[in-house]
């Protein structure tokens, strides 16, 4: 197993977004998190590259991502007032896409800020 070392990695657990962390990864999991705090360490070490969950679920049953995307598009377009909510633990690029999607479906877009 080759060891990947990522210098100046960015932690997105809390709002501090520390960007000076050194990560050691063996391809499946992160084994070392230099300079990260206890919260950051558990954030990095808890997420692995393993396939622990089904790709997608429709009504609780495993499904393909393609089917799930089509089902999602149907539900969102059929709704009179759909809501797009969250946006906290995703990248700005994903947030941008989400705003565009909200415009297309004529909905409300909101984040954790409003809580």
């Amino acid at each position: 197993m080759t060891l990947t070392i990522v210098k100046n990695a960015t932690c997105t657990f809390c709002g501090c977004v520390c960007d000076d962390i050194e990560l050691h990864a063996d391809g499946v999991r992160i084994t070392e998190t230099k300079r990260a705090c206890s919260l950051g360490e558990s954030w990095f070490k808890n997420h692995t590259a393993e396939r622990l969950y089904p790709d997608a679920l429709i009504d609780g049953h495993p499904a393909t991502v393609d089917d799930a995307i089509e089902a999602a598009a149907d539900y969102l377009l059929d709704a009179h007032m759909p809501l797009v909510y969250g946006l906290s633990n995703v990248t700005c690029e994903a947030q941008r896409e989400a705003v565009h999607l909200t415009e297309l479906i004529g909905g409300v877009v909101d984040s954790h800020t409003s809580l």
Binding site: T4, V6, A9, T10, C11, T12, F13, C14, G15, C16, V17, C18, D19, A25, R29, C37, S38, L39, F44, E50, R51, P54, A56, L57, D59, V65, A68, I69, A72, A73, L77, D78, A79, M81, P82, L83, V84, Y85, G86, L87, S88, V90, T91, C92, A94, E97, A98, V99, H100, L101, E103, L104, I105, G107, V108, V109, S111, H112, T113, L115
Partner: protein, 299 residues
């Protein structure tokens, strides 16, 4: 430095050392020794150890304290009985105002203990007004202590795409902003919405029960790296890569500095960005709900 209603020692462990309290700066060559830290909270938390002054406010009385401070800053007289039930004395408040005015550069970091308790938006508005008014005397800023990774990014992206930071309604084809009307909890509790796409959040674990009940009633779609509480009551769940661990992109720090993410792992799942884009493409292939919206304006 004033921390109000927050516990950075436990919730933002590196805030003191990497950003605020102990770092040496051009005008603070001695780091911690050049700074005074005040902690305002309803109980003494582990952050209290780092503070020079700890002020214990009675729960739910933050607004009253801030209003009294704003009056004292402008040299108004306050009767001691007017602040009797805040848990603080006039002497303590006068000392704080003196410290604030003597500072060369003051900052108020406010946490959820202020913005999520009795008064909510009004508390945040009051503390921002206090910081604004302090600028008549010295340089002063206020900054919310953001919880989740890129929640600041959500504010920034919504601001530059729609003009408003959160709770934006695009039902009429143009953005409308009205917290209390278009904010998630209110929409859910009133039962206004009839479908929901949740990404980068787990409202099933954090929201009030009536809101969760409504989420279970309507078709809910969840994008998350894990099968969450919300996924269990959703019609559709799509597993995605973990932001910052196996998905790259940009995230904003709480002081609105954008930072690139450097993922260390390769996920077997698609990223949130990818999935949202594919849902968008699938929506585009269907007839538009409003013909004039075919060509979009915002992004």
């Amino acid at each position: 430095m004033i921390y109000w209603g927050g516990n950075p020692a436990e919730c933002h462990p590196r805030h003191f050392t990497k950003y605020s309290l102990t770092q040496k700066g051009k005008f603070t060559p001695n780091g911690r020794k050049d700074r005074t830290m005040v902690l305002v909270d309803i109980r003494e938390t582990p952050s209290g150890k780092a503070a020079d002054v700890f002020l214990q406010v009675r729960p739910g009385k933050d607004f009253e304290v801030i209003t009294a401070l704003r009056a004292l800053v402008k040299n108004q007289t306050i009767r001691p009985e007017a602040i009797a039930d805040t848990g603080l004395t006039l002497e303590q408040l006068n000392d704080l105002v003196k410290m604030m005015k003597e500072a060369r550069f003051g900052v108020i970091f406010f946490g959820m203990g202020l913005s999520m308790t009795r008064g909510k938006h009004m508390n945040s508005a009051a503390i921002l007004m206090l910081a604004a008014e302090m600028n008549a005397f010295t340089k002063f800023v206020a900054m919310p202590m953001r919880g989740h990774g890129n929640v600041t990014g959500a504010d920034v992206v919504l601001r530059y795409t729609t003009g408003y930071p959160f709770g934006v309604n695009l039902c009429r084809g143009y953005p409308r902003f009205n917290p209390g009307e278009f904010s998630t909890v209110d929409l859910l509790v009133r039962g206004d919405i009839d479908a929901c796409l949740v990404l980068g959040a787990d409202p099933g674990a954090t929201m009030p029960q009536p809101a969760i009940d409504h989420l279970a009633k309507v078709p809910t779609i969840v994008l998350d790296p894990k099968v969450t509480h919300t996924s269990r009551l959703a019609r559709v769940h799509i597993t995605t890569a973990v932001t910052g661990v196996s998905a790259g992109g940009t995230a904003y720090r709480m002081d609105e500095i954008p930072l690139p993410l450097r993922p260390a792992l390769k996920s077997p799942y698609p990223t949130d960005e990818d999935v949202v884009r594919r849902i968008k493409e699938a929506v585009k292939r269907r007839p538009a709900w409003l013909p004039m919206l075919k060509e979009t304006v915002i992004v």
